[in-house]
């Protein structure tokens, strides 16, 4: 005869008085959730891509900010990272990608060229992507240091946390 296996008795927990509910504001809650789940779409056109890879990889690790997983479909992303020079020939493509992204969406101008055209002032280069699409955060540098990029991501997170986040109607 074997002894019956010992099981942990299931006991009904006493209802606790602590943390039954928390109160917050809807915008703060949604903003907190959204700022830590940025899905970037990398619109990578030039040498800044090297710095983008550096900041994405282990030593700097943008995953700490919830911004690590690049989605290569604009439909699934909410942060458009424009990394590098955009030419006039590419501008229609950038605009199409931006328009295909679903709300809510944010745009990061990564590096001097995406911000202002950088040192290109000629027939070919678009002098800053904010000429065609709205930009939320600008990151200076040619290319930017990874620390600068991380600072930019954190500033964008602050901005998202402070934003209004209508989810049902325009007002709510």
């Amino acid at each position: 005869m074997t002894a019956p296996a010992k099981t942990i008795p299931i006991q009904r927990a006493e209802p606790s008085r602590a943390f039954e509910f928390i109160s917050t504001k809807k915008d703060e809650l949604i903003g907190w959730a959204r700022k830590f789940s940025l899905f970037p779409y990398p619109f990578v056109t030039a040498c800044c891509a090297m710095e983008f890879m550096a900041v994405s990889s282990t030593p700097y690790d943008t995953d700490r900010f919830g911004a690590a997983l690049p989605r290569f479909s604009p439909r699934q992303s909410d942060l458009l990272m424009v990394v590098g020079t955009v030419t006039h020939k590419q501008a229609p493509i950038l605009l199409k990608v931006y328009e295909q992204m679903c709300e809510p969406k944010w745009v990061m101008a990564f590096g001097a060229c995406a911000t202002s055209g950088g040192f290109y002032q000629n027939y070919a280069a678009l002098a800053g992507i904010d000429k065609i699409i709205p930009v939320d955060v600008y990151i200076p540098g040619c290319p930017p240091r990874p620390e600068t990029v991380i600072d930019g991501i954190m500033q964008l997170q602050d901005r998202i946390a402070r934003q209004r986040h209508p989810i049902l109607t325009k007002e709510f």
Binding site: H88, K89, A91, P92, L95, Q121, N122, Y123, A124, L126, A127, D130, K131, I132, I133, P134
Partner: protein
């Protein structure tokens, strides 16, 4: 100078307007009509089998304003030749080299984009680096340095 370049210079000098060396490259200034014959000799007799590039130089104010510059390389002899052809602004055309080198098809398109040089015999001179609707030739000296031709209308308030 290598033996091959000395032979090239000796044999092609009558078709060229002089010859000189520049950084180890044999430079042959030639008349417009002798471009294809000279290049055909380079390819068939001296094994210049690689067409490196064609570009142009704009000399504003000179009677023959544009200088079309071809570069060739011999993968047999490891030497280069530069061929310079002057053309006038009113008729900036040279003969195409697509019959000799297929890669000329694309490099001539770029030169046509940037300098407006016409290449007789190239069947497809559509823009390759520029876009349809671009007016002018941006690497000509008289193209305004900061003139832009955007394809997308700028947003409100942006200039």
């Amino acid at each position: 100078m290598s033996d091959v370049l000395a032979r090239v210079q000796g044999e092609l000098a009558p078709m060229a307007q002089g010859a000189s060396m520049s950084h180890g490259i044999l430079v042959l200034p030639i008349a417009r009509d002798s471009l294809v014959p000279v290049v055909r000799r380079l390819k068939s007799d001296f094994q210049f089998d690689l067409f490196l590039d064609v570009t142009a130089v704009d000399w504003p104010g000179e009677p023959l304003r544009f200088e079309v510059v071809h570069h060739f390389y011999s993968t047999r002899h490891f030497v280069r030749v530069r061929v310079k052809t002057r053309v006038a602004e009113q008729d900036p055309t040279v003969d195409s080299l697509v019959s000799l080198y297929d890669s000329a098809r694309y490099m001539e398109r770029e030169c046509h984009d940037m300098y407006g040089i016409g290449f007789r015999g190239n069947p497809d001179l559509r823009p390759i680096l520029l876009y349809e609707g671009f007016v002018g030739h941006p690497l000509r000296k008289d193209y305004p340095k900061q003139k832009e031709q955007p394809l997308v209308p700028y947003r409100e308030g942006e200039k």
